[in-house]
């Protein structure tokens, strides 16, 4: 497959996504500078983590105005797969490609640690390869990862099965202690109504090699690859 990984000023997980997709999973990857207006021949787009524009104003609030984001909007509208990780999730919310917002962690502190995720539904291009009862052990690293949405939005997310991942404890239970940032309904990641755009705060690219302690993140990336492979033609 052919992935486009966006690069904003202040992106700092771009190389990590490239590493996981190119060197670990063996796919072709191109970095797309934020000033570019086209995504080239990408089959899918990853918006990586980092501190685009230094998180000035609000996380993701400036990046959404970058020229490349117009191309991402068109790509998504045509059904193309877009995954936002961490700051990428924040950017997709700011860009209106995903509902809700990510606000300051309830602890008011940055948190970097492994957490457990439970996948709510295999029915998405981002979860189709994840076994139903499998807990994913992934790292988080964010200061503003507390997912928030109004009651109507949350109700819609639930009704449409758009909540893809929730924070759980090692036993797979939803507990207050397992939620690292105070996210509404323990939400770690969601998708749009069309199910082709998703975002999550944890970092699947940091959990793709045994030497780094977990390979659970590959299941998310491999789900995307499987979804792309089963399509008759690439989107966009």
């Amino acid at each position: 497959m052919n992935f486009a990984v966006l690069q904003f000023p202040g992106s700092n997980c771009d190389q990590d996504v490239v590493h996981a997709l190119r060197h670990v999973l063996g796919h072709s990857v191109e970095l797309r500078w934020h000033k570019e207006a086209s995504l080239g021949a990408a089959d899918a787009v990853v918006v990586p983590g980092g501190f685009s524009y230094g998180d000035y104003l609000r996380t993701g609030a400036i990046a959404r105005f970058s020229p490349v984001m117009e191309a991402v909007r068109q790509f998504a509208a045509a059904g193309g797969l877009v995954l936002g990780i961490c700051n990428g999730f924040q950017i997709l919310c700011e860009a209106g490609l995903l509902p809700g917002a990510l606000i300051r962690n309830r602890s008011l502190q940055f948190r970097c640690e492994h957490i457990f995720l439970k996948t709510s539904t295999p029915d998405s291009p981002f979860t189709n390869r994840i076994p139903p009862d499998k807990l994913l052990r992934l790292p988080i690293a964010h200061g503003e990862g507390c997912y928030y949405a109004d009651a109507d939005t949350l109700a819609r997310l639930k009704a449409n099965h758009q909540i893809l991942w929730r924070y759980v404890n090692a036993q797979g239970e939803i507990t207050a202690d397992a939620n690292p940032n105070g996210a509404l309904d323990h939400i770690a990641g969601i998708c749009n109504e069309g199910r082709n755009v998703a975002g999550l705060m944890p970092h699947p690219e940091r959990a793709s090699e045994p030497i780094l302690g977990s390979t659970d993140g590959r299941l998310i990336l491999e789900s995307m690859i499987a979804a792309l492979a089963s399509r008759p033609t690439a989107a966009g």
């Binding site: 000023p9 997980c13 190389q15 501190f51 998180d55 940055f110 970097c112 457990f116 690293a141 404890n169």
Partner: protein, 784 residues
């Protein structure tokens, strides 16, 4: 605006002695301008010139076949790690700024050291730090001092997190101590390591007469005026208040862009020399680049991007605004600078030219405001051989006797108390605020004896074009440990400083690594005080001897003198960051016990064979339980220590070692407990495993009968490592260790849900959950 007249008062305000002022006039051949006086004051400050420490620093071992750039040559030393790859690393202090404004002080400390690394052409790949604060816990209701210590601690950690996380560098290692001697004068030592190919090393040289000089990065403001001079005087409440303007404000986002743009520009080959504007900003960078190249440099201050209107030449030259670089470009290739910096939307300006005059000439508003022989100011700073005298307090230390101190009557309670002591307790409250995983290389993060970092293709700066024929980067593994122990060094500067280096080397050995080199940060008091200078001198002697013993040359570092709080000087605190190499990823070893039934062995002597009580001098136990920082600290036998590390590495290489953990603060009992409780699987998910240990048979050896429990459990005898091995290998490992010349004893087995520890006359039975919770939560509880 007219400059003030140069009076003796003004000279004194610039921290220059009358003799230094005479020397300055001799260098210039005339009375200085106001701007020149400012330039000399920072260039000849301790921070920039090492005038009080240079004779001592020359005694460090600095040579090895691996050295590519040695100590003092450039912004950071560089070591060969094989296959055409190299690492650049250094530690640097930001103590005084952090005392005044902890968040920005610490943040810009990180920014400064990261710049030092990419200035060498290396990609910064990991950070670490060494921190000291006053106590954050109190017996009763915490008073204002404790509240202030917490404020400083919290602010420093948040500042480091802010800068490192946003820049995108993993903070993988560190150490933190809490002690009253650091009250009001915290220590913030920041370390950074970068990776590059041999051919990518760049120099801070203003080479090539006629080459243009570029300024890149954000505009110059009035922040951080003369910070280097501020760092080179005693810190007092008054100076702190006055010097608030000397604290810089950091912007890690800007630094990330400047770093990426510089590495991209360096790959083009258009750069003749590059230097960051750190301490003393534009002054230091212009002067040093010209001095190193033996050239001159002329700059025009009207062309320097400025943030505030009406800045004087004095202010522009001495500003320490952050994230700025000076780049000397090969003439004719200016367009490449402009293209790349425009791409990254970064300000740039061509501000001057390299000359053959040997002089640093500064123009402002059409007038020459400084005209100084560059090499003379950079290289001919004053050098002082300070007077050293053994401090009086050491007599009392040597006379101290433990006879008056009762043995422990409740070892289980004391073990719990030690685990909850902030200096020993888990630092997860700190490192969970640092992104310690970004860049996908953190194989062993914070929380084990040493961190292990993978080097891979994207760890080196990218070649100019993707199709280049450079050979691929093979995976390599770097281990890193930062260590210090102010109490030991206070009680015996020579021996204590040896221990600091030995512990760093031991921590590396515990991960399976061989030391490559070290960088040191000398945090001491006022060098004009003969007793404090004696501490410094003895400490350097100890560090140097130990670095020689472990074949770990010093590749650079930093001196921070004048560390003083209202009640006296800080404990003398050299900190050492040692870097090692692990050849094979299968050898990477962590400190926690692995499986039920594994056998626990102790490499090294149970207690000091000459005097079992020696391990208690300066120990955490004596400090916490008896409120005493006293007694002769443990001895450090470098030859035996080295044999121990060699033996451990040999055992690790033979594939039998499942965990290895050094015994340090808190002694054997704390090390055993840490083996049981220190593995973290995920948030709120520790992996706990018990251990059954019987020390009774070992205490029946000759000379050990009647040994005090406190010395046995909590003594800090050096040269001891706990390892665990599969039960089927235990006998073989015991025999191997004996052949390797290291005393080794079987202590017990891994398993169960408690640490059960039998000693003569007592049995400790501590559920691992209790041990863990006290240890894990102690700092968070103090900070809430």
């Amino acid at each position: 605006m007219t400059d003030p007249a140069i009076t003796p008062e003004l000279v004194q305000k610039h921290n220059l002695t009358p003799e230094e002022y005479e020397k300055l006039k001799a260098v210039l051949g005339r009375v200085p301008t106001y701007t020149e006086l400012g330039i000399f004051s920072v260039m000849w400050s301790e921070h920039c010139s090492y005038k009080n420490t240079r004779p001592l620093l020359k005694t460090f071992p600095t040579q090895s076949p691996r050295i590519l750039v040695g100590a003092g040559e450039e912004n950071a030393g560089i070591l060969d790690i094989g296959d055409g790859l190299a690492i650049a690393f250094k530690i640097e202090s930001h103590n005084h700024p952090s005392a005044v404004e902890p968040f920005q002080g610490a943040a810009t400390g990180v920014g400064g050291i990261v710049r030092d690394i990419f200035t060498m052409g290396a990609r910064p790949v990991c950070a670490a730090n060494s921190l000291r604060f006053g106590p954050i816990t109190a017996a009763g209701e915490p008073g204002p001092a404790v509240a202030n210590n917490r404020r400083l601690f919290g602010g420093v950690v948040a500042g480091i997190a802010h800068y490192g996380n946003c820049f995108g560098i993993p903070t993988v290692a560190g150490e933190i101590y809490f002690d009253p001697s650091y009250e009001g004068n915290p220590l913030v030592n920041a370390f950074c390591l970068g990776v590059l190919r041999h051919g990518q090393i760049v120099r801070g040289h203003a080479r090539g007469v006629g080459n243009p000089v570029f300024y890149v990065g954000p505009a110059t403001g009035r922040d951080g005026l003369a910070g280097a001079a501020f760092a080179s005087q005693d810190l007092t409440a008054e100076s702190a208040e006055q010097q608030r303007g000397a604290v810089q404000v950091g912007d890690p986002f800007m630094e990330k862009l400047v770093c990426e743009a510089c590495l991209e520009l360096l790959a083009t080959g258009a750069v003749a020399g590059i230097q960051d504007m750190g301490a003393a900003g534009l002054t230091c960078s212009t002067c040093e680049t010209a001095a190193r190249a033996g050239t001159g440099i002329e700059i025009e201050l009207d062309k320097v991007p400025q943030r505030a209107p009406g800045m004087t030449s004095y202010e522009i030259m001495l500003s320490e605004s952050q994230e700025r670089m000076l780049i000397i470009v090969h003439r004719g290739r200016e367009a490449e600078v402009k293209r790349i910096f425009d791409k990254w939307d970064l300000p740039w300006a061509e501000i001057g030219v390299v000359t053959d005059t040997g002089r640093m000439v500064v123009r402002h508003h059409g007038q020459v405001v400084a005209d100084i022989p560059a090499r003379k100011i950079a290289d001919e700073s004053p050098v002082y051989e300070r007077v050293a005298r053994e401090p009086e307090y050491l007599q009392a230390v040597r006379a101290f006797c433990l006879d008056g101190v009762p043995d422990t009557t409740n070892p289980a309670a004391h073990l719990l108390a030690l685990l909850a002591w902030p200096t020993i307790a888990s630092k997860n409250w700190v490192y969970r605020q640092y992104d310690h995983m970004v860049r996908n290389n953190s194989v062993v993060g914070p929380g084990s004896d040493a961190a292990v970092l993978r080097i891979k293709e994207d760890s080196v700066p990218a070649p100019p074009n993707a199709a280049s024929a450079l050979r691929p980067v093979p995976e390599k593994f770097i281990a890193l440990s930062v260590d210090g122990n102010g109490a030991y060094v206070y009680l015996d500067p020579y021996e204590g400083s040896k221990i600091v280096v030995a512990e760093a080397a031991r921590n590396l050995a515990c991960t399976g690594a061989m030391p490559l080199g070290a960088t040191d940060n000398l945090n001491f008091g006022n060098p004009h005080n003969p007793e404090l200078f004696w501490q410094l001198k003895e400490s350097v002697r100890g560090l140097a001897d130990a670095c020689r013993a472990f074949n770990a040359p010093v590749t650079g570092g930093n001196c921070s003198l004048y560390n003083q709080h209202p009640n006296g000087p800080i404990d003398p605190t050299p900190t050492v960051a040692m870097v090692g190499l692990i050849e094979n990823p299968e050898h990477i070893t962590t400190q926690w016990f692995k499986d039920e039934g594994d056998v626990i062995l102790l490499l090294g002597e149970l207690v000091d064979t000459s005097d079992p009580l020696l391990g208690l001098g300066g120990s955490a136990y004596l400090q916490l339980i008896h409120g005493m920082k006293n007694g002769t600290p443990p001895r450090c036998d470098l030859a035996r220590e080295k044999e121990l590390h060699l033996a451990l590495r040999a055992l690790i290489h033979s594939g039998v070692v499942k965990s290895a953990h050094d015994c340090s603060e808190g002694g054997l009992a704390v090390a055993l407990a840490e083996g049981c409780i220190s593995q973290s699987v995920a948030r709120a998910t520790p992996r706990l495993i018990g251990a059954q240990v019987d020390l009774t048979p070992l205490t029946e050896a000759p000379g050990r009968d009647g040994i005090r429990l406190d010395a046995l459990l909590f003594g800090e005898t050096q040269g001891r490592i706990l390892i665990s091995v599969d039960a089927v290998n235990a006998a073989k490992v015991l025999a191997q260790a004996r052949i390797l010349g290291v005393p080794t004893a079987r202590l017990g087995t891994v398993g169960g849900d408690a640490l059960r520890l039998q000693v003569p006359g007592a049995e400790l039975n501590c559920p691992v959950r209790d041990l863990h919770d006290r240890w894990w939560n102690a700092i968070a509880e103090a900070m809430h």
